[in-house]
């Protein structure tokens, strides 16, 4: 990649600098910024769809007894809430951020494989149309939980092949996205941008992309086996034919645990960009951050059975998976300490992205601690399949992954649109969200410890108060997100003009570009010192 670019060729680029007009722009675009925008808007839409499912669930659980939905619909809503939020909201949001940010952070003109990029986005709306259409089929949608455990999942009615095909499509989309990210990072870095100089968001995405390549095909294999068991008379998971339903759990969680880190590593990257900006200090322990991310990714492959401590594993298995799981706390701790050390004696200011980033550090750590409690195999027999698990993974996914996405959007939106966000509205959104999310999920720890099972539409009377508090928090949190939607739309439409650097302490290639970012950037590669 030489920097001796011929100036004559550049004029060609300048002549078609703007995007084409109309719907065709979005359908046929190969521009990484357009595709990033599409991903982010799609993810926002799915966030509200999945969120409305969650609000129906919380409304039903506001008091004991059955009030609003019948148990079968309740089960469909829990299943679809998970599938929509994981594959429709969180993962596409991270891919959208990668599309926007990775090229402008490493000085690349676009993603390495722009046509494939278009395809990997446009598969998603079809996949989710297929998945959500199952709600209207006779017999309803999938109701056996997003983990699709057989034999329960095999009792799904006509929705079953739709769900499997939708999951295949989401998998193909993710794999293509991951290939694109890896090819871009490996081949399109600007001269001087050596691997150990890359911004951490790029590093965490590189590692995430490798995780996606490694485990999405395993999920595809697992659901294909389910499909074969249901329709082609095989017995992978059918004990009658010599199979074993527990094997599905092993294969599923071999995918499932790395999947958890697919949803959190890019979040670590975003937070590692934001905290140094608003602490006005370089990130503490850059190299250790990179190694910690890589160690977490490696460990994610050898801890899967901690999701299934109660299936009747031998003692040696329980011990191995317990200790290997606890080991993950070490690199994660390194990260948390590095973020805190970055803030230590920094000149901190508390703009909206920073507020979300600080809340991430604190609340993600709470989720990490409850994860450590769940890792203790003998204690897990008490916590397993209770609301304690629900509280744990919502703490790492909502004030973890979702807060990091919102922080990232607030942080980079001025760069993308050229307009500053409405700071007052952003802070209001933050405070309502952070109060709402804790009122929503913290009581669920107590419910779980007291023995309330998850995925049940009714409960014993003694759980009433905490469920009511949790539901009130859910509605507070859910409706506060309309402020986010409003703020994003207003910022796209107009607002105080943003400078090129946007934030006083911002460092990196993307902040050298004009705001808003031109349609084509870095057609001539910058040189990194």
């Amino acid at each position: 990649m030489s920097i001796a670019a011929a100036p004559a060729l550049h004029h060609e680029h300048d002549t078609h600098a703007g995007p084409p007009r109309g719907l065709g722009r979005w359908l046929f675009t190969t521009n990484h910024k357009d595709i990033g925008t599409l991903y982010l808007l799609f993810s926002l839409m799915m966030f509200f769809v999945g969120g409305s499912f969650a609000l129906v669930i919380r409304a039903e659980l506001f008091q004991p007894g059955l009030q609003i939905v019948d148990p079968h619909l309740f089960n469909q809503l829990t299943t679809l809430h998970a599938l929509v939020m994981i594959f429709g909201a969180v993962m596409p949001a991270f891919v959208g951020l990668a599309n926007w940010q990775v090229p402008i952070m490493i000085g690349a003109p676009d993603m390495a494989l722009p046509r494939m990029n278009n395809w990997s986005f446009w598969i998603l709306p079809f996949a989710f149309a297929l998945l959500l259409s199952t709600l209207f089929l006779p017999g309803g949608g999938p109701a056996g939980g997003w983990t699709l455990y057989p034999p329960l999942a095999l009792q799904t009615g006509q929705a079953f092949p739709f769900v499997i095909l939708a999951i295949h499509m989401m998998g193909i989309s993710s794999i293509m996205g991951a290939i694109n990210v890896i090819a871009t990072i490996l081949n399109l870095r600007a001269p001087g941008m050596i691997l150990m100089k890359m911004p951490l968001f790029v590093w965490t995405w590189l590692i995430t992309a490798f995780l996606l390549i490694a485990v999405m095909p395993v999920l595809a294999g697992a659901v294909t086996m389910l499909l074969a068991d249901k329709f082609f008379g095989t017995s992978f998971f059918n004990a009658a034919g010599g199979g074993d339903p527990v094997m599905f759990q092993h294969i599923f969680w071999f995918f499932g645990h790395p999947e958890v880190y697919i949803m959190i590593l890019p979040a670590f990257g975003i937070i590692s960009q934001i905290i140094p900006t608003f602490a006005r200090k370089p990130l503490f322990g850059y190299a250790s951050m990179v190694y910690a991310t890589a160690s977490i990714a490696f460990l994610s492959f050898i801890v899967w059975a901690h999701h299934m401590f109660t299936v009747g594993m031998p003692l040696a298995g329980e011990l191995f998976f317990m200790y290997s799981t606890m080991l993950i706390a070490v690199p994660t701790g390194v990260k948390v300490f590095n973020w805190v050390s970055t803030m230590w004696r920094g000149s901190m200011t508390f703009e909206t992205p920073m507020l979300f980033a600080i809340a991430f550090v604190i609340l993600f750590t709470i989720g990490g601690f409850s994860g450590l409690m769940l890792a203790i195999a003998p204690a897990d027999f008490q916590y397993h399949d209770t609301y304690f698990v629900v509280a744990h993974f919502h703490y790492v996914l909502v004030p973890g992954a979702v807060f990091s996405i919102m922080a990232g959007v607030y942080y980079w939106l001025p760069k993308w649109t050229g307009h500053m966000i409405d700071e007052r509205l952003g802070r209001l959104h933050f405070w309502l969200s952070v109060v709402g999310v804790n009122v929503l999920f913290f009581p669920q720890h107590f419910l779980g410890l007291a023995g309330m099972p998850r995925r049940i539409p009714d409960y014993a009377l003694q759980f009433t108060e905490f469920n009511m508090i949790s539901s009130i928090g859910a509605f507070l949190f859910g409706f506060s997100q309309l402020l986010f939607l409003y703020n994003v739309i207003q910022t796209i439409r107009g607002g105080e003009p943003a400078t090129d650097q946007v934030w006083e302490g911002a460092r990196g290639l993307e902040w050298t570009l004009p705001s808003p970012t031109p349609y084509h950037t870095f057609t001539k590669a910058p040189v990194v010192e």
Partner: protein, 184 residues
């Protein structure tokens, strides 16, 4: 980077990355399926998961351990929709490791058709599975039933004296399947 050579060099590099990653995707897809036989092999080697397999125990002379008594419980269950009545004739026995015992399970065809069934055994706790040896068992063969036929089916077993000392109770469970819906 706009010169012709660097452009084609970049295209080559991109193609190489894509090829390698697609290969990795295919390999991981295959690995997912390879987990199925690997899982069975692992369970057989370690005797985990209560899988006793269909293997016939080698009858070798062992010393009967009269000082130790182990409770063996017998459990029967039917796979969903299997049209049989199926139950152990004795639900629990006190046995000495190293000695042969025989018990029977009773099955009755509830339909007016000929049926073929197969019992799949499982032993709990898992670590006891490989020390529970079946010398003769109705689960080794398919069982044919005439319409309405009732039959007692024998199982002869021996508990290996090497059964871990902490195990005081062993449960032998059979699930009876109708063979047509077993896919073979």
């Amino acid at each position: 980077m706009e010169t012709q050579e660097t452009k084609s060099a970049l295209a080559t590099a991109n193609r190489r990355v894509v090829r390698r990653l697609l290969l990795a995707v295919a390999a991981m897809f295959a690995f997912g399926f390879a987990l199925a036989p690997l899982y069975d092999v692992l369970c057989q080697i370690t005797g985990l998961n209560g899988k006793t397999g269909g293997r016939v125990a080698v009858a070798r002379p062992v010393v009967v351990d009269e000082t130790r008594t182990v409770t063996v419980e017998f459990v029967a269950s039917l796979n969903a929709g299997a049209p049989w009545e199926f139950a152990p004739m004795v639900t629990r026995m006190a046995v000495h490791p190293g000695q042969y015992y025989q018990t029977r399970y009773l099955a009755r065809n509830l339909t007016d058709q000929r049926l073929v069934g197969q019992a799949v055994p499982s032993v709990a706790p898992g670590p006891a599975a490989r020390h529970f040896q079946k010398v003769e068992c109705f689960c080794f063969n398919r069982q044919k039933f005439e319409p309405g036929e009732e039959r007692a089916m024998p199982v002869t077993f021996i508990i290996d004296p090497e059964l871990p000392p902490e195990v005081r109770t062993v449960t032998l469970s059979y699930t009876f399947f109708k063979l047509d819906d077993a896919g073979g």
